[in-house]
Amino acid sequence: MEATSQYKRLLPPMRGLARDFYGYCKQHELRFQKCSSCGAWRHVPREMCPDCGSFDYEWAKSAGKGKVFSWSTTSQPMLPQFADAVPYAIVIVELDEGVRMATWVVDVPPDQLRIGLPVEVQFDDVTEEVTLPKFRLRKQA
C-alpha cells in the first residue's frame, strides 16, 4: 500500500454504479451484481440483466477466489501515471462465480503468469476514498 498523498496513478470516477462497486471495495468486500430474477452474476456493472432483462439485482458478495484467464503486459509506458510500473501486466481474473475482471496480480511477475493460476482478492487502499481490488497467488488446498 502506498501513502495516500503520494498516490499519483489514475483513480476510477466515483459515480453511478462504479461508486457502488468501489464503495464495497472500500469496505474490503468484493461484490458483483447478481440478477434477482434469473440469478446471473455480472461485471462490469449494468442497469439491466443482459440475460433476462430484469432491472432488479443485489450486490452479491464474491468469495474472492478465481483463476488467471488472460493478461496484457505493458512493455512501454502508455500512461505517464504508470510509467514507473513498466513492465506490468493487467490481468483478467475469472472469479469462481463466473464473472471476469481486469486487475493486477501483485506477487507474480508478468513473465511468470500462466492461464489457470489460482488467485485470491486482496484490497489496496490507494487513497482515503478509493480501494482497488487486486489479487495474489492462492495456495491450493
Partner: protein
C-alpha cells in the same frame, strides 16, 4: 436476391500523401483527399449530397461549408472506431440505393503522427476517450494502467497464442507480407523500408505479445471514397465497383472485453456470413482480402472470422506466401495499416476498388473480380464489404 445487392457502387477514391510530419490541419487533409476522390469519379463538390462520417471530427457541417455543398440531403455518423469506415459504406449504400442521396462521401483523415497519438500517451496521457467504450475504460481498466488499443488487444492475443499454440511465425507472416506489398506501392509510407524476419523478431516489445512490427503505423494523411447508385455509376468516369454484400457485427458485450463468454468472438464472426450471403459468394471465390490490420494477431482472428480457416488455424494458413501477391489469397496488397498508412482502413476500400478496376500496376492481382474489405475497431466491433467488378 437481397434488395441491396449490387445496388450501389464505389465510384471515386482518393488520398493525400501519407507522411510523418505535416503542416496541414486534419480538416485540410480531408478536403484534399475528398477533392482527389471527386476528381477520380469525375464529380464536382456540389455533386456530393450525402456524408457518412467515421470519425467525430471534423463535422458534417465543417466539411459541407468548405466544399460549398448547396444541398446536403443526408448525413450520418458511424462511431465504432476502425470498423466505422466499412460500416459507413453499408449506410451509404442504403442511402443511394433508396434515392435518399445521389453521391455520398466517406472521408477519414487525421494527423496521427504529428498530433497527440498513441506514442505520446506514455508522456501526456490518452487524448480523450470515445463514448463507445470510454466509460468501461475509465472506471474499470485505467485504474490498472490500461488505456490504449495495444494493451486491450493484447488480452485477446495472449490467450489466443496460448490456447491455439500460435508460434511467432504466425503474426510474423502477416507483418512481412504487408511490408513486402508496400514495396510495390508508391503511396506506402514503408516503401523503401523492407522488413526481414530478423528485424521482426528483434524489435522491441510494445505490449506483449505485440512487438513493434505487429502494430499498425501512425501517419499523417487522409483518404476518401464516394458511393453512388449503380445506375449513376454507369455514367461516371471509372469502371463501377459494385457493393455486392455488406454487414456489421458486434461482440457480446461490445463495451467490455474481459466479460465476454465467447472470448474470441469478435464482431466479424457475426457479420461475415450475412455479407457473403447477400453477395452470393463464398470465401473460396475471393481474389484478395483487405483486412483491418491494427495488429497482426487480429488479422489472424479476422481471417478465421471470415471463414478462410477454422478458429486457431490461421497461423498455419498464412505460411508459405499464401497471403502474398501470387499466393492463394493475397492480403493487404497496398501494405495496409501496417505498412501503407493508418487512415482507419478507408485506404483498404480504396485499394480494393483499384484492384477491381485493374489499376494497381505491379501489385495488380491478375483478373481480380471479387474481394473483401474488413473493418475492426473499438473493443472488437466488425464490418465487411464484398466488392465485385
Amino acid at each position: 436476391m437481397h434488395p441491396l445487392k449490387d445496388k450501389a457502387c464505389v465510384v471515386g477514391v482518393g488520398e493525400t500523401a501519407y507522411t510523418r510530419g505535416t503542416d496541414r490541419s486534419q480538416l485540410n487533409q480531408i478536403l484534399h483527399a475528398t477533392m482527389a476522390a471527386l476528381d477520380d469519379a469525375g464529380l464536382k463538390p456540389h455533386d456530393i449530397d450525402g456524408m457518412v462520417l467515421p470519425m467525430p471530427m471534423p463535422t458534417v457541417e465543417h466539411l459541407a461549408a468548405n466544399l460549398g455543398i448547396p444541398d446536403l440531403r443526408y448525413s450520418a455518423s458511424s462511431n465504432i472506431g476502425g470498423a466505422a469506415p466499412v460500416a459507413a459504406v453499408q449506410t451509404a449504400a442504403m442511402a443511394v440505393a433508396l434515392g435518399i442521396a445521389n453521391n455520398v462521401l466517406i472521408p477519414v483523415g487525421w494527423n496521427a503522427y504529428s498530433g497527440a497519438g498513441v506514442r505520446g500517451a506514455g508522456r501526456s496521457g490518452p487524448v480523450g476517450l470515445p463514448p463507445s467504450f470510454g466509460l468501461t475504460m475509465s472506471e474499470y481498466y485505467m485504474p490498472y494502467g490500461l488505456a490504449v488499443p495495444a494493451q486491450w488487444f493484447a488480452w485477446l492475443a495472449t490467450r489466443y497464442i496460448q490456447e491455439f499454440q500460435v508460434p511467432i511465425e504466425g503474426p510474423a507472416a502477416v507483418a512481412l507480407a504487408a511490408r513486402k506489398h508496400a514495396q510495390l506501392n508508391d503511396k506506402a509510407y514503408m516503401r523503401g523500408r523492407p522488413l526481414t524476419m530478423e528485424d521482426y523478431r528483434n524489435a522491441r516489445m510494445i505490449a506483449q505479445p505485440f512487438r513493434l512490427f505487429d502494430c499498425c503505423l501512425e501517419t499523417d494523411g487522409a483518404c476518401a471514397v464516394i458511393i453512388s447508385s449503380a445506375e449513376r455509376a454507369k455514367d461516371l468516369k471509372q469502371r463501377p465497383v459494385y457493393i455486392a454484400g455488406t454487414a456489421e457485427g458486434h461482440p457480446l458485450p461490445a463495451d467490455d472485453i474481459p466479460g465476454r463468454k465467447d472470448f474470441f468472438k469478435i464482431g466479424l464472426f457475426y457479420a461475415a456470413p450475412k455479407a457473403f450471403e447477400m453477395a452470393e459468394v463464398g470465401v473460396r471465390d475471393l481474389d484478395f482480402v483487405q483486412i483491418y490490420d491494427c495488429f497482426t494477431h487480429i488479422v489472424l482472428l479476422e481471417l478465421e472470422a471470415l471463414g478462410v480457416c477454422k478458429l486457431g488455424e490461421a497461423w498455419q494458413f498464412v505460411q508459405n506466401g499464401r497471403i502474398e501477391l501470387g499466393g492463394e489469397l493475397p492480403f493487404n496488397t497496398h501494405g495496409g495499416l501496417l505498412s501503407e498508412a493508418h487512415v482507419a482502413g478507408v485506404n483498404h476500400i480504396a485499394e480494393a476498388t483499384r484492384q477491381l478496376r485493374g489499376q494497381c500496376g505491379e501489385r495488380q492481382v491478375k483478373d481480380a473480380e471479387v474481394g473483401v474489405v474488413t473493418g475492426f475497431g473499438d473493443f472488437g466491433d466488425g464490418s465487411l464489404v464484398v466488392l465485385r467488378r
